[in-house]
Symmetry: none
Amino acid sequence: MDTKNVLIVEDDTNITELLSIHLSDLGCKVVSEKNGQNGLARAQDESFDLIILDVMLPGLNGMEICRKIRQGDRQTPIMMLTARSEEIDKVMGLETGADDYLTKPFSVREFIARVRVIFRRSEEKARYAAPTPQLISIAGLEIDIDKRKVMLRGERLDLSPREFELIVLLASNPGKSYSRKQLLSLVWGYDFEGYEHTVNTHINRLRGKIEADASNPIFVLTTWGIGYRFNEDL
Amino acid sequence: MDTKNVLIVEDDTNITELLSIHLSDLGCKVVSEKNGQNGLARAQDESFDLIILDVMLPGLNGMEICRKIRQGDRQTPIMMLTARSEEIDKVMGLETGADDYLTKPFSVREFIARVRVIFRRSEEKARYAAPTPQLISIAGLEIDIDKRKVMLRGERLDLSPREFELIVLLASNPGKSYSRKQLLSLVWGYDFEGYEHTVNTHINRLRGKIEADASNPIFVLTTWGIGYRFNEDL
DNA sequence: CGGAATTATAACAAAAGTATCACAGCGGCA
DNA sequence: TGCCGCTGTGATACTTTTGTTATAATTCCG
């Protein structure tokens, strides 16, 4: 929800570059395609926060692309670019379903302003919507990843960020043993420079919070000589 | 939700008539005002599906009206008309918050196309969007989103706009932890450029108003290392 | 059983994150 | 115009987390 992904389908490299520059300024990650087929394929395969379509395209025209995208996806905002302003009613028509429209040559300021409005609108939309919960539930231990909530037999546990990341990783793959090195790189980040036994300390603290008896753990087990794993027999 | 109500605030009678004719063709019920004050009053008193504002107006300019409407109502689509295309970024900017924009002289076909898109969008929204609850009531805290009113144990709280947005967002998803970045993007707008710890200050002020003991909050809790959440166990 | 290797635990200080307050800029409003 | 409330920022005090050090406990294996 932070950096926006934008797809530009446009055969004129100058325009693509111009738009890319300004979209990057807004903090967007931009990818582009030069022809219709590829553009459509990409739009359908990947997920974008905005798709910018030129109407005149080699291969498959922009309106067709727009219509096909809309068959499978009513969400993603689509902005159309065209040379002829008379086309606007066709382009923005119900069947086609574009969200906004710009006639070439357009002012960059207007372009940016319209993009901003589109983004504002999507955020407004995403605002109060409850996200689909990602839940892990094993033997009285419940983890709601999105809420960053861990419940043990009905009580909320107060885990530190590292502890939370650790338990999520381990509990996502019960039975899989992770070496300390792996844990450091997965939880701390690949560029962490420190001692492996730092992991011990954190596992220990984690156990202190989630285990009834920390010296006889039932959730987070030690794989001797290797590292740690989440108990798969629960 | 069949016939749409449209308000036109415009001093040029010719334009008002032209727009009215075409809006009527679309099945809209159109009313109009010739000056700013009346336009604003009407926009605030009655309920419309679209408000069309001229930027240049006697009395109160269109951008001001737009901004004032947006203070109390984020929903109603607003389309701005202006003579100068350079103004677009100001007009559609975050504070002003217009949804669409047309530069005079504009093509009627374009006007109609844009209106259609706006209506299509509202209908999509009405159809799919989960109806945002207008009232939130938890543990003596009552939030009336429409009226922008917050009551605590029967007493009305005087929250600033930001504080109100914050509490509404948090209380809409009790238990969900929002990072400061998310809050900035959702409450301040995705293009806010400022420090994350601005959020701290606002949360702090909010707590000062809604919590009995601000250092032992029961409504707005801290998720350490992440951000804030609304207490789900109330 | 002994000893080396590995893991567990506790304590501590540095680092990171959070709370709070004061202040200046801005815009609204009388 | 001057006053007042809202905002964002800077400064500072405060809290929690975190990595490390130190030491104890456990496991493995000959």
